[in-house]
Amino acid sequence: MAIVIPLGKLADLAGAPSLALTLPLMAELDWEGLKAALPPLLAEALDDPRVRVAVNGALLPNKTKLQANAGDEIALLPPVSGG
């Protein structure tokens, strides 16, 4: 299982502050796999180039190269709208 944390307005599209994705044992989750597992409106919003992704607190230089495993926390980060 991987945990998805949608931040900001992406949380509204997800309908929850976190989503648990069930992964098959020993299988890796890639970008297309992640989008397929999320609610369609949320998956669509991820294509916005301004949306960044972090795995276990580390920002991915290129989110489409995502490789996540069971136990990972995947954060979906829309543009910030500061303090």
């Binding site: 931040l7 607190g57 926390e73 980060l77 910030v80 709208s81």
Partner: protein, 152 residues
Amino acid sequence: MRDIRLLDRMFLPGTLIGPFTQANPGLGGVCTFVGEVRFDEGVEALELTHYEPLTLPGMHDLATQAFARFTLMGLLMVHRVGVMRPGEPIVCVSAAALHRRDAIDAVDFCMDHLKSAAWFWKREKRASEHGGEWHWIEPREQDHADLARWQA
């Protein structure tokens, strides 16, 4: 001396500045900026969300950049998260230095980065017939222009 904090409840900036100044003996100047929730028409509350693994480490990185760029003795950076009412403080940045320009510019630098490059998401609750509706705030062009001043 650096003091970087995220707070989830109301704070009084005045109570932080005294101890911060005391902790930097021999300073030549202190510059402090406090940001508060504006009394905008129809806005009942503001909420800032953050992402624990990125937000506080990001503020520490920002402090490191400020220390590298300016000649500082101390830096205090305190940011609220959670729900705030108009008039409540959101952010307090204070810099202590031997010379005023370093203190003033360091605060300006930190604020421009906190506004447009720190991991915070903001929404506001606007009055409506049904008792208030939350709206996400989009990034502002002006904030990005302010950030660009430091990238030359």
